[in-house]
Subunit: 384 residues, 4 copies
């Protein structure tokens, strides 16, 4: 499998699990090759990580600034950059990348403020560049099946949505024990306005948007910091009113002991309902009013094209998190290639159309801001 | 099995499913015998129902007033009355029953107003009578195991509680099709202030209280009436702040297509978490911080006495709704017997201690009132 | 609920769990009343049990012989007897009961030898008496739905059947610790030819027969006694060839640690397949060839009348073991009543038609004999 | 990620799903790069496939013979070959590969006869080459956890093993509709002695061996060809007696409608039991005698090193089939590297130690032969 594109990674050096996840998600389909990087926060550690990953030392950069400046002058400059640093650096890095003409794949939450996010959105737009935000859970084939069915009206008018994203890894104060991943996530200067809200609540908001296409009208949020000493939330519950009358419950928590990374989506309309759980990610249960529940399964009968093109293996051969994640990169790569060639590649374009963009990233940051505002005021706030 | 007590039923005649459920829940343990009734809303239908159930015609009464007056003069007067009529009649019937000295088992929600409920509470207290409210889901052995573990501190300080009670039978306007059970439930003059809120939201509130013992400090509720034409809610979501800092999410809905009668309870503390689903009612999953989840099973190893005494069959022989329901009556009967004899019967007293009382019933009605107030004002309201 | 019939129980005194289960299964529907008994193996303990159950001392008999002789002379003689003694006494008790003109409900395995069972079968037939064997698992509504669908050809020609009945309570030598229930089950003089084979393997065989109606042509069995010191099997595996070419796997074990009482049924034909697990007894998953799996649920849409009449509660209100068991007694009572009145009672007759009879009991004993023969010879044996 | 090794693929051209699976399983960890191939059965189609995969045309060979001859003369010759052709060609291809000094990764079943398999085994041994058979299901982290716990004695002496591998894709005669994958699998000249037996029964046999280490003493098998016109089995059931007294039930079927690719493993000893299902592959339920079931989860607490090193993502981020498959290649690559360098690489050697070798492959083919023999004779046959 010869890669069609090359990329650089910012962050994600040795010990940074999320970088490894991104690299594997890309590698799974073998369509882009890592050739450059500014992998860690110091030049020394960056070099060490680059060596471990087998990068050409010439293309292992000490800082992201250096990377963009030098790469942009190469004939074989990378096609895109994958940014997997802590939240506070997303904005300057992505901005510089776009300014130097690189396509961007950016981890969520996109930025610290929605103004920053909007700026990146506009910048990418004006430059004609792809700026994809890794709301990776939208890559699950059966989430895409859910989206297709909701949007095709199988459930009728949507009434109620439940989205849960419950973890437990921050149930104790790991941050006081030198746990690097925990430490920056509970630090407002690094993480931003939201704790669990930013880290996983944005995934939750995006999943609802992706599947239902509903527009928020107002919301009421309660943020809690259960672990003593925290200033950022480690648990958030939100009630959302959508245009058209639908109502949503979104809960994101990092203190639910016994839930490693439990995500569930349930959507109910006047004609039917559907439920999806990440721990049985290959199944989607759909019930039409008055009928028995039907189990749609990945690569099984009766699936929408969006689910079919997002699948890697035959039915019954379980796919998981990495396969879903890879679909984001597959779509981003398709989109980059289509821009390059001046037209969509017909057989792959559906993947490209489904990827989350910087507009989704901007909505996520705005969601954080609105939830924080509602919780502080203890009132419902309007979205617009 | 010779019954230890006799009872009369008010409501629950032919075609009223809930009356049959109560009778079966009582019959399962064979400790009380139905001997009298005012079973339907007209004397003619009451007589017909009584005949079907094999009651002595002399003790088949045309109205509840007649029943209480005539039964109270019999030497073999019934020991207690089971009231399973629509909500609007609970108060006058229960009041009259207590005034005539009968112990009462009352369906939920207890009354239309918390003032009425409190009055019944006081009346029962002053008369030394049992007034049990059939929050039947508290009768599940593994719910009682959950309660024991939470109260024994196994989960540490409680942080977060999720209680869902989702049905779908009112997802369409059955009331316009002459569906009797639907019709009164969507009629405020019959059902009271709450629709789904009163019908199942009160069960949900009580389950949280029963298991955790947490006191509500404030709540924010959104009530929705999704089916056109309804004035009462068919869907309600509530965020609750508890004394001590715990936070709760309670959702009750009758429009979640695909959920027949789905109840789940999840409780998370700083030392552990537990989850229970009615559709696997014989299991309780408990996870202590840093450890693997452990599956407690009904009649299995390591159970609290409260679960043991609430169980009917050996492990692996599934118990369900009726067995749970029967535990409420077992406890009520024990309590009545203990009052009669002037002392607790040692081996059964635990069942009697666990039954929901009129104070729980009062709290449920108050919960309805507070949620309606919060939803109308669209603000958080204080409990006290 | 005034009982329509009266019954006596043989065995099932204090401490005998199975007697309690039978009494509760009967009580649930309130159609038969226990009025007489020979409840334990000694007159003293029988009297004590009778007192505990509130029997009229006059109808508490010291022995079953006494019971049949005296009851048969009473004007208010019991309508039927429920026999819940250890296996070795089934034959003489049931024979005497039938000879005295009592209808019989008999625990499984019916007798020690198929010759005895056939004799009882013939005796009941010649006397025009009901002789029902409590293959209680056939009482589950969704097992009856499975039966109806298989027999209506929904799955096409049956190819493969899997029936598992796995327990763990005999994984250690409880018998050496004075455990009464274990002790007689591992004793060939009490239990008969089969250990797990007789105790639960007969349930397994009957479930296959009940659901599929397939006729055995030959079988190959391996019996194991894993716990040291046992002479009877505590684990058995059987491969069965059915007339018409279907193939079955039946496994019954009492040493599968972690399985309390796990029963599953899977049937596959050339047009579809179905799966049922006792631990989600209210569901039945059916897949037609080329289509998605559909979940049929108790009291849900699209059920066969056999499932409907076997159900006690609305959808989503879980039913379990006792409700299933009660359906056997409901059917037996219907059948007794229909005989008494000279005709079927139309609305209940389906329950009566579905109960296991002494012919099923005979087949079960024959199955034990054939499996023992196959295992001893270590060859396949023919059924006929 | 710069690849450490290069490989060639034989078979697996366009439209051959299994080749894609192997390539993705390798790509996931980015440690080997595809640089050569003889991808299809004709030189033309091979060239087309090679182009699609971006191979250097010079290293796209028309036949495997050509590949081995020319590659073996290159300085940059591939390190190993991955053989993913239909069964009948495994033997000649693998033999020639080994003779030319290439390490081999070979699809299962290894060969048509155990004599051929043994010859390959000896050849690899004598040449000092790796010859790994892709029993990929052994790559699941929780299967490796099961293995470690069984071998550490957590379950005590093993008594009973259940292994099921049930599919449904051959429930109809796809072969008559020109379905390429079906056609060769039902053709004895291509598939060998076994149909379902060879295709998936060998996986099943290997999973038992891998986890338990038990040695077969004798077996009794029934092979069925349910779909009219087939000469090879599409369904097989086997009872196995192991040295030491354990008993096993292995069933493999390709006609179980509703089961896409359902694999389950259950092992019971005198001290405990464990259960694993592929459709919840990240969980392993372990029950010690007298205790409650404990859920071990991938990347969760208390795991054996074998599970830890086999995991790609944090807890709660589901892994599936490809991740498991990749562990086989990771181990094979480690092993090849260790041979190259003259010693084990300490931190990776565990993966290398766990891979299935040609001895396992040989046992699998022998298992096919023994089952066919037993089924034809309709008797138990000895393993040795």
């Amino acid at each position: 499998m010869s890669a069609e594109l090359t990329y650089a990674m910012i962050g994600g050096g040795i010990g940074a699990n999320i970088g490894l996840v991104h690299r594997r998600a890309i590698a799974l389909d073998g369509r882009a090759r890592l050739v450059a990087g500014a992998l860690s926060s110091t030049p020394e550690r960056s070099a060490e990580s680059a060596k471990e990953l087998g990068l050409d030392p010439e293309r292992s950069y000490g800082t992201y600034q250096e990377l963009f400046e030098l790469e942009s002058n190469r004939e074989d400059r990378v096609d895109f950059v994958s940014i997997v640093t802590p939240n506070d650096t997303h904005y300057p890095i992505a901005k510089m990348a776009l300014q130097h003409g690189f396509h961007v794949v950016l981890d969520k939450p996109a930025t610290h403020s929605s103004a920053q996010a909007q700026e990146l959105c506009d910048l990418a737009e004006s430059k004609g560049l792809v700026c994809c935000v890794t709301y990776n859970y939208t890559g699950y084939p059966m989430i895409r099946q859910a989206r297709a069915m909701v949007r095709d009206g199988v459930l009728g008018n949507i009434r109620k949505v439940f989205l849960e994203y419950h973890q437990d890894w921050l149930a104790t104060d790991l941050e006081s024990q030198g746990h690097k991943q925990a430490s920056w996530r509970v630090d407002p200067t690094k993480a931003g306005l939201g704790g669990a809200l930013g880290d996983i609540g944005t995934h939750a908001e995006n999943l609802i948007s992706f599947v239902t296409g509903l527009s928020m009208e107002s919301l009421y949020a309660n943020l809690q910091a259960f672990v003593p000493g925290r200033t950022l939330d480690d648990d958030v519950s939100v009630m959302i009113r959508y245009t058209g009358g639908a109502h949503g419950i979104l809960t994101a928590s990092q203190v639910c002991i016994g839930e490693s990374n439990g995500i569930s989506l349930r959507v109910y309309g006047d004609q039917g309902g559907l439920v999806w759980y990440q721990d049985s990610a290959n199944d989607l249960r759909v019930t039409k009013v008055g009928a028995n529940p039907v189990l749609y399964t990945r690569s099984g009968p009766g699936l929408h094209r969006d689910a079919v093109v997002s699948s890697h293996t035959p039915p019954g051969h379980p796919e998981g998190y990495l396969e879903a994640f890879s679909n984001i990169y597959r779509g981003a790569i398709d989109r980059i290639l289509s821009l390059g060639s001046g037209g969509e590649r017909a057989d792959l374009s559906r993947l490209a159309e489904l990827i989350p963009g910087m507009d989704d990233g901007t909505q996520g940051v705005r969601f954080v801001e609105k939830c924080v505002e509602s919780s502080q005021k203890n009132t419902q706030v309007n979205w617009a």
